[in-house]
Amino acid sequence: MAQLLQHLINGLAAGTIYALVALGYTMVYGVLKLINFAHGDVMMVGVYMGYATAFALGREARASLLGVAAVFAVAMLGCALFGFLIERFAYRPLREKPRLTALITAIGISFALSYGFQLDIGFLPGASPRAFPEIITPTEWLIIGDRDVVVWNWQVISLLIAVGLMVGLQYLVFGTRFGRAMRAVSWDHRVAALMGIPTDRVIALTFMLSSALAAGAGLLYAIKDTSVSPLMGLYVGLKAFVAAVIGGIGHVPGAVVGALVLGLVEEFVVGYAASTWRDAVAFGFLILVLLVKPGGLFGRVAAEKV
């Protein structure tokens, strides 16, 4: 029983991080119908920005509340700028081209980033995994029995941040003018432009927002697992993408639910079966969802726009 509870907590902690990354996929897909395969690697870049900031701050400063805020701020803002640049120079020139072209470019950027960051030149981090500096001192918040079940502060913090961001995003999309513009662009960006919506700006902002989210998620991931490496984006990105598809890509709460489900499924498979089974079950689950409910758990299979 205690073991089950612990697995549940671990699974939720893993799931919330997938959720934050999945939200980025879902937003960009929602607006552009583009699966941004470089999203996970943008996250990795954000993590290294946070890593550099934490080191620059030094041991004392980075453990303070202000220090943590600084690390998050630098990583998220830096990553937003990075996302803007990618959109401006890699995706925008291809916007009127067949969708597949942008998809291939995204995969190209993904590999360029994850392998480029392994080069040992100048500020680049090199190939070896690095230990992420402790910016949130791990504390046990809740201990049941003889450490049978342990809840850590970062698990609670991640969950709160993820839920907060999800609610905020839902409000942004459905409750603000910018959100309405986003939805209009998603419906048909040419017509939206004719109606006076600054399409390019909306798309750029969406990319910046999703990249900032990715950086935030990446930092939570780094706090959780302490090891960061240039290849982490490929791995987390793929899982988050699967989560977004399970939930129904383009659907904000769906991405979160899909991610939590995936996190829990993986945790239970590893805990009760074997880790060999983890990816097989996770991707098997994806196939099952697509077979039974092709739009994902929450997605609607919409009629093709004419």
Partner: protein, 401 residues
């Protein structure tokens, strides 16, 4: 939304194609792979000429085993530098061409093919990880180019053929050594095993450990596994914790073990962790922090060894690279030394002559122990047990074959 399914398929197909392509000889794929290192002191690879002997190295310079590959490269470079300073081989200077395999077998196979067909090297050194060496051994054997792996301990590597040698002990021995140490010295009774099921190395060590530990009267109470590249091991560790072991055998590589150690302490496992030479890297201490303290692993050599030969090597290495050499550097150095000695003795520089010369290596004084190659082209050497203490490794004992 109806477009999603075909798009998804297309995406997966492209990703598959992208992965597929890498296994084929890419014309420019190796472009940046040539040792770019700031520590490169053998200079730019000179063109093959009459007064140079060109050796080849394939190493994991990037990816999950990168610190291994770079240590190995440093050791090899040091040996070559010393040999050239001492006049080279029969009046010829030595040069080495290094390719990165990104810690992937398919890249290793491609790189070794390039060394053989394009660069026409007389001998190949590498790789660190057994999975990569296995991919290389097939190619080297088929082409009749001798290959010496400094540190691939998997049994099957040298079984690939009579051109494949190694200067380290083999995996079953390491599994045996740790089982013996766990029973006799640590007095452990029930042990859990956590294996990296993507690594032939880890699986082999774990299998022999399990068998020997049981033969010595111990009990394996839990078997869990993970995959290279994972960073979250809480599920496995939670399951292991439930069985209340006296110790955990984790024969993986440093990039995972550091994190495993940290998370083991986090879930409340206070028992010692044990491992093999895959732990030996400064990155282990960085990733694991204080959590790796008090754990044990088997290794090829200890920098604490007062032998003047070892200390002289350490001093030379420190002067060039500013760090204490790990076992991989020592083995790289030994492998290159064995190769150079063999080239000196060989009748000529053709594959068969070099192979025969390497095979005759007897009582060669390496820094990681004396090297005599047996009929199966394996070195027979003792292993040392090291304990992690104060962010360093501490010599505990030597266990003989």
């Amino acid at each position: 939304m109806r477009r999603l399914a075909p798009m998804l398929l297309a995406a997966l197909a492209i990703m598959a194609a992208a992965c597929e392509k890498k296994t084929q000889p890419a014309p420019s794929g190796e472009g940046g792979a040539q040792s770019p290192g700031k520590a490169s002191n053998t200079g730019t690879p000179p063109p093959a000429s009459a007064d140079t002997i060109l050796l080849g190295q394939v190493g994991a310079l990037s990816g999950g085993q990168a610190t291994f590959g770079n240590s190995q490269r440093n050791g090899i470079e040091l040996a070559i530098k010393e040999a050239n300073a001492a006049g080279g081989v029969n009046g010829k200077k030595l040069a080495i061409r290094v390719y990165d395999n990104q810690s992937k077998p398919e890249e290793a196979a491609q790189a070794v093919t390039r060394l053989i067909t394009q660069d026409k090297v007389v001998l190949i050194l590498g790789d660190v990880a057994s999975s990569n060496s296995l991919a290389m051994a097939d190619k080297a054997q088929a082409a009749g180019v001798p290959m010496i792996t400094p540190s691939s301990t998997n049994v099957t590597v040298t079984q690939k053929g009579d051109y494949i040698f190694r200067v380290c002990f083999i995996d079953p021995f390491q599994g045996y050594v740790m089982a013996k140490f766990a029973r006799d010295d640590l007095k452990l009774n029930q042990v859990a095993v956590l294996t990296d099921n993507k690594s032939a190395y880890s699986i082999d060590l774990a299998n022999v450990f399990k068998q020997k530990f049981a033969e010595m009267g111990g009990k394996i109470i839990s078997e869990q596994s993970y995959s290279q590249g994972d960073t979250d091991y809480r599920a496995q560790l939670t399951a292991i914790k439930k069985t209340q072991p006296d110790g955990i055998y984790v024969p993986g590589y440093y990039s995972e073990v550091g994190v495993i150690a940290r998370q083991a302490r986090e879930v409340g496992l206070k028992v010692p962790l044990m491992g093999g030479d895959g732990w030996d890297s400064a990155t282990l201490f960085e990733l694991g922090g204080s959590a790796v303290e008090g754990n044990y692993f088997s290794n090829h050599y200890s920098p604490d060894n007062p032998d003047p030969r070892v200390q002289k090597f350490i001093a030379a290495y420190k002067a060039d690279y500013g760090a204490v050499p790990d076992a991989l550097a020592a083995l790289g150095y030994d492998a290159a030394k064995v190769a150079i000695e063999a080239l000196k003795r060989a009748k000529d520089l053709t594959g068969p002559s070099v192979r025969d010369a390497i095979g005759q290596t007897k009582d060669f004084p390496g820094v990681a122990g004396t090297i005599s190659l047996d009929a199966n082209r394996n070195a027979v050497k003792p292993a040392v047990i090291l304990k992690v203490a104060d962010g360093k490794t501490q010599y505990v004992t030597t266990i003989n074959p």
